[in-house]
Amino acid sequence: MKRMLLGNEALALGAYMAGVTVATGYPGTPSTEILEYFANYPGVYAEWSPNEKVALEVGVGAAMAGARTMVTMKHVGLNVAADPFFAVAYTGTEAGLVVISADDPGMHSSQGEQDNRNYAKFAKVPLLEPADSQECADMMRVGLEISERFDTPVLLRTTTRVSHAQSLVEVAAEQIKRPDARLPQPFNRNPVKYVMLPSNARQRRVALEERLGRLQDYVETTPLNHISWGDRRLGIVTSSIAYVYAREVFPHASFLKIGMAHPLPRRLIAEFARQVETLVIIEELDPFLEEQIRALPGLGSRRIIGKEVFPGIGEFTPELVARCAVDHGLISADAVSPYLLADAGETQRPVGGIPARPPLLCPGCGHRGTFYILRQLLFEDQESGDGSQTSGVKRQGATASTARSPYVRGNLERRRQYGLVITGDIGCYTLGALQPLNAMDTCACMGASIGQAIGLEKGGIKNKIVAVIGDSTFFHSGITGLVDVITSGAATTTIILDNFTTAMTGGNVNPGTGKTVDGKPARRVELETLCRGLGIEDVTVIGGFDTDALEREITRAVQSPEPSVLIVREPCVLEVKSSSSMTSWVEPDKCVSCWACLVTACPALIRKDGKVAVLPDRCTDCQVCNRICPHDAILRVGRDSLKRET
């Protein structure tokens, strides 16, 4: 029986059916669903760890204990987990350990599009690349077998279009069961292998190369890499999602499909290359295969085509691969299925003039009030026309739309007084950087807001500096930044936006939630206790909708020479739905169309007949717009009374 499975669900199923009993990870698009699906299976341990480094360390421990283990993360998560990843490459484990990295070409939901295949080569571990859901399930099992046979961690790398595509997987419902779990093993004490003192590590360093030699023999014959012969004028070497696109574009060519890309099957590729006229390498992002293939001896003068034809930036699509191939004469336009080249046609250009629909903070989002107040207090070089009051940074990106609002203009005095610089972080609240809130000056990587705030101060910026970070990101890697606030003597104000969840990735538990991934109660780490325990004396907890109190606390905190933490606490509106019988309502006679409320970027507010109006179906009664309206034109009314009127 075939089932339609998301790539991530197939990975979870493959892991379960291969006897994985421990899975850890940190949520991140496009990897998140793997662990969420896996946690639903009976008799397994799954955890959302505080960050990817901890997740992998827990995973290594579990695999050392003899449990088959899976660790999941997005591509940038492996940067965080790189330290244990390189370490476990030296030591190996007792039972199978597969590390899944879900890359995001095109950056649908990421700050970068790094190609994590490079990590496999860098850390000298085997690399698997599935192309569809069936391969996700199969390679999970094979990955565990390779891990155990060669005593090495295995990197399994997907991309957005593998993780977030659904395709058919052959699995009967009655087959979805796990082999009997192994009995607990006694701890295998083996310090020469597991204690990486230099004297031991030097031996493991040699063992690492010996293992790569044995893997080289394996990779030449594994069915994960296979040739399907067609027309031998074109021989295509490809992997992952690029493989399925290439199969559509070149229906008659010969293919070498790479499922295990490190170590590279050199002999197989050389043999394939010798039997084709032109060797074409089609891979998303970096020329990972190409650079190694071009360095192979014995290919002589064979024509090799790669990144000069197929771009290294961004996500591939089937039509992009087709267009590149036709434009460079690899295939004639007649030989390509006509629909793949349709984008040349007039009606296949996007319709012009469509209003953009960027992602937004939800109606009732607990972050909105904070960003609205920060927006009133931030340093804005362009609008003031005179940055000399608070020399240092030049802030760009203000648009006419916000500058036009008299309410915002009226705040110039306050801006000159406070001139905040806002370092931001990764999460839903990064949307506070978008227009019209436009209240963020930096966002780099998980936890960076706090360290950057310290650095800006130490580097000589005279403005008050506020770091804004979410609860999950703070647990992930903000805590160590806050430790440095204390020891560095910086005056940083850290705002922790605490919504008890990891919202951006779909509402995943974090150490402050008080629940495990499978919904059982767990002990909470309390942010205020943690911050005070580190040595921050000025810790305040405040709600997210009381904009007056937010302004009072933020302005107080930034003027203090002491470091402070402001915890703005509202549960995520997607997790705790509003049940209010009230809604905001604009009294048309009082609205003077200053658009001050629209600066909140609330999706429940629209312009109607030259005034603002509230969409009651969207309004959650958070009352931020009511509070900030300078003309008291937004009232709170019962939903029922509104219905009676209309």
Partner: protein, 191 residues
């Protein structure tokens, strides 16, 4: 077996992914190989959502190329215009008349009026059906069945028997809503 390419669009939170899941079940039951892809994460915070569904004897790519969609099913009319270039010239657009406004502060371009939307779609599809799915669903007693009404309207243009559609819908909705969803499908199909 004629390959069929579908694009489903709308705004995050409208139930697009559930509808594309149902469409996949329809394809499977009709004997096709099926692939689907959509983007999760940031796009779902009230942003524009697009889901690709492909049915064929053997499907390689889960992505529908631009200009290759046989069907565009849109849960919101502005989003139908945004993704209309995925249709080929003989394509079919089935569109809910629901209008979800874009962010008011940044309204550099106003939300297009109905005539403009109809003209845009007519220029890019051979058949356009714009229907009041939300109103019809409310009349049936539950606004949430709007997506099944749209699937019903779509089914008229797809050569797969309606029993196959109804079975797929029954598979994906709780049993107590099956009858309601069956009626919603038929309301859509009758239009």
């Amino acid at each position: 077996m004629k390959p069929l390419n579908f694009i489903l669009t709308g705004v995050g939170g409208q139930g697009i992914l559930l509808s594309s899941d149902i469409l996949c079940l329809v394809g499977m039951a009709a004997g096709y190989d099926v692939k689907k892809t959509d983007v999760h994460g940031m796009a779902q915070r009230g942003g524009s959502v697009i889901s690709h569904v492909r049915l064929a004897e053997q499907v390689f790519s889960p992505m529908v190329p631009v200009g290759a969609a046989d069907y565009l099913l849109s849960f919101e009319k502005l989003e139908a215009c945004r993704w209309a270039h995925y249709l080929h010239r003989d394509g079919v657009a089935v569109v809910s008349d629901e209008a979800i406004p874009t962010l008011a502060m940044e309204a550099k371009r106003p939300y297009p009026d109905d005539d403009e939307i109809a003209a845009t779609l007519a220029a890019r599809a051979a058949h356009v059906r714009i229907l009041p799915a939300g109103t019809l669903a409310t009349e049936l007693g539950n606004p949430r069945v709007a997506n099944v009404i749209l699937l019903g309207a779509l089914s008229r243009f797809v050569e797969i028997p309606s029993e196959v559609w109804l079975n797929a819908i029954a598979e994906r909705v709780p049993s107590k809503f099956r009858e309601l969803n069956r009626r919603a499908f038929e309301v859509g199909r009758e239009i």
